[in-house]
């Protein structure tokens, strides 16, 4: 395979329709619908336990769905195995970093490109591109297990980029980063969706990052959607203020 692009790289929307997920008696997701367009950054926020990570896990096939459907463009990916979903153009990162610790930074990113069926040469080219995008050039030959925490995050994101997904879900990319590292990450991520035509969905508790980075927000509470819109709009929704942002957010 010389052309190792994801199978439907022309799809312009990731569509999630009425997704429902139960854990025993608990309804973790209750008919959640959202659309992620290419080129936009969508923030998925909500208090702890509101179902954000569960939503990412069911979309990417890690957990089976109990109801609802997921599409990449016209292609349905509901309950497909994770690797098929990855190949269909939907990438993700994890809350807890899962790098290949005995592989170098370069190899970590290369594996991703290789898994898309790229030739070795193309995989290298792609990996280098992703590494540059995340400012990791100086660390290329280092073992991933030896990197400082903040850089591990960036390697994980670079690895996700190398899959050249049409849509990418980042689960708490700023978790554990200090303010400076979080700002660096913001600067790196902000221009990418538009430049690459990538739809980016970000879950994070760092509201500073979310508010500055995201074009739109989707708010979950107890598995239900309680608001969506631009960051400014969302701040004004009473339920959101009550459930999540707290009363102080109204003013600023």
């Amino acid at each position: 395979m010389s052309d190792c692009r994801s199978e439907n790289s022309k799809a312009d929307e990731l569509v999630i329709q009425n997704v429902t997920k139960n854990f025993a008696g608990l309804r973790a997701l209750d008919s959640v619908s959202l659309t992620l367009k290419r080129g936009e950054i969508l923030g998925l926020i909500g208090p702890n336990g509101s179902g954000k990570t569960t939503l990412i896990n069911v979309i990417t096939g890690l957990l089976p769905l109990d109801g609802g459907r997921v599409f990449i463009g016209e292609v349905e990916i509901t309950n497909k195995p994770p690797y098929e979903i990855a190949r269909a153009g939907l990438g993700r990162t994890f809350q807890t970093i899962r790098l290949f610790r005995e592989l170098t930074v370069m190899e970590n990113v290369e594996v991703a490109a290789v898994s898309m069926g790229c030739s070795r040469k193309e995989a290298k080219r792609r990996a280098l591109l992703a590494i540059e995008e995340l400012g990791l050039e100086d660390w290329i030959g280092r073992l991933a297990g030896e990197l400082p925490y903040g850089l591990e995050r960036r390697v994980e994101i670079a690895r996700a980029f190398a899959l050249q997904p049409s849509f990418l879900l980042l689960d708490e990319p700023a978790a554990g980063l200090n303010e400076e590292e979080s700002d660096q990450l913001l600067d790196m991520l902000a221009p990418i969706p538009e430049r690459k035509g990538l739809g980016l969905l970000i879950v994070d508790h760092d509201m500073r990052l979310i508010m500055r980075l995201c074009h739109r927000l989707h708010v979950l509470s107890y598995g239900r959607t309680i608001g969506e819109g631009t960051p400014d709009e969302v701040r004004r929704i009473p339920q959101v203020i009550e459930a999540y942002l707290g009363k102080t957010a109204v003013g600023g």
Partner: protein
């Protein structure tokens, strides 16, 4: 006492042990399965030599090549037929399956061939020696060391430079993640079994060469050695397996020289004593790999 001969013997045995351990660990790293049917691959190489010799009498090199290929194919087939169906079940299921495969292969040899030892052809070179500065070095030892080195270098290149190699190392590191990224699991696992078979087959040639014979239970010894060597070196690291193999070879040869004649029969007991001591201080083995210990289905 620590003569050149001793050193050569230790390196020769160490080389075989290193290859043995590597073949076991390359599968363990990915599936967390200690493949107890691994020793039978050596047996199969031996019987392939025996059968080809009694029927066709081809040149030794051709028969040796066939022996190794049959070991690779057997390893590949056992994964396909026996391990793949139970892969998503518990680890215990896989472990017991490997015992079953081992027993099955041994009994097949008992029934179809004979419980008695069968003669295996050896190349003339195996019984010849090279004399350097008054020291006679058996060609078998030279060939063992050279073959091992070539194989280790080739494997290193494969693992470092090829797509398959990177995928294999990624899978050994975190198989779940590798799968999530879309690397086809079956290809990676099959390749690991084929490489495991290659290593067992090549070790098999030298192993049956030691006694010039093959029995249905010949695989037990090498399996145990591979297991002990990987425990010494560290179960989660390919480098650890190689290091463990050489350490095993050196200690075992050393015990052979050190122990008084009356205790030589207990050489293996002393060997295990040393292993216990190593494990007391390094319970994870000498080289700690990055493997997650997480098992996959």
């Amino acid at each position: 006492m620590l003569s050149v001969e001793f050193l050569l013997n230790a390196i020769t045995l160490g080389s075989l042990c290193a290859l043995l351990a590597l073949g076991l660990v390359i599968v363990y790293g990915i599936l967390k399965l200690v493949n107890f049917a691994y020793g039978e691959l050596i047996m199969i190489t031996g019987y392939t030599l025996y059968l080809l010799n009694t029927s066709l009498q081809l040149p030794w090199l051709v028969m040796a090549l066939a022996g190794v290929l049959v070991a690779m194919f057997t390893s590949y087939s056992t994964e396909l037929v026996a391990f793949r169906p139970v892969r998503t079940k518990s680890l215990t299921a896989m472990l017991i399956t490997s015992f079953a495969v081992s027993t099955l292969l041994q009994n097949a040899a008992l029934l179809l061939i004979s419980p008695r030892a069968r003669a295996v052809p050896l190349p003339k070179l195996f019984s010849a020696s090279l004399t350097v500065m008054g020291i006679a070095i058996p060609w078998r030892n030279i060939l063992t060391v050279v073959t091992s080195l070539v194989l280790l270098i080739a494997l290193t290149v494969l693992l470092k430079k090829t797509i398959l190699g990177i995928a294999l190392r990624a899978a050994a590191d975190n198989f779940r993640m590798t799968r999530l990224m879309g690397v086809p699991a079956n290809v990676v696992i099959s390749s690991a079994f084929v490489i495991s078979g290659l290593l067992a087959g090549i070790v098999g040639l030298f192993w049956v060469g030691r006694t010039a014979s093959v029995t249905p239970t010949i695989g037990g010894g090498p399996l145990l050695i591979a297991f002990v060597a990987t425990v010494i070196g560290g179960m989660n690291s390919l480098v650890g397996a190689v290091v463990g193999g050489y350490i095993y070879g050196v200690i075992f040869s050393f015990l052979g020289v050190m122990l008084p004649q009356t205790l030589l029969d207990y050489r293996e007991a002393f060997m295990f004593l040393v292993v216990i001591l190593i494990l007391l201080f390094r319970p994870e083995g000498l080289i700690r790999g990055a493997g997650t210990g997480e098992r996959v289905g």
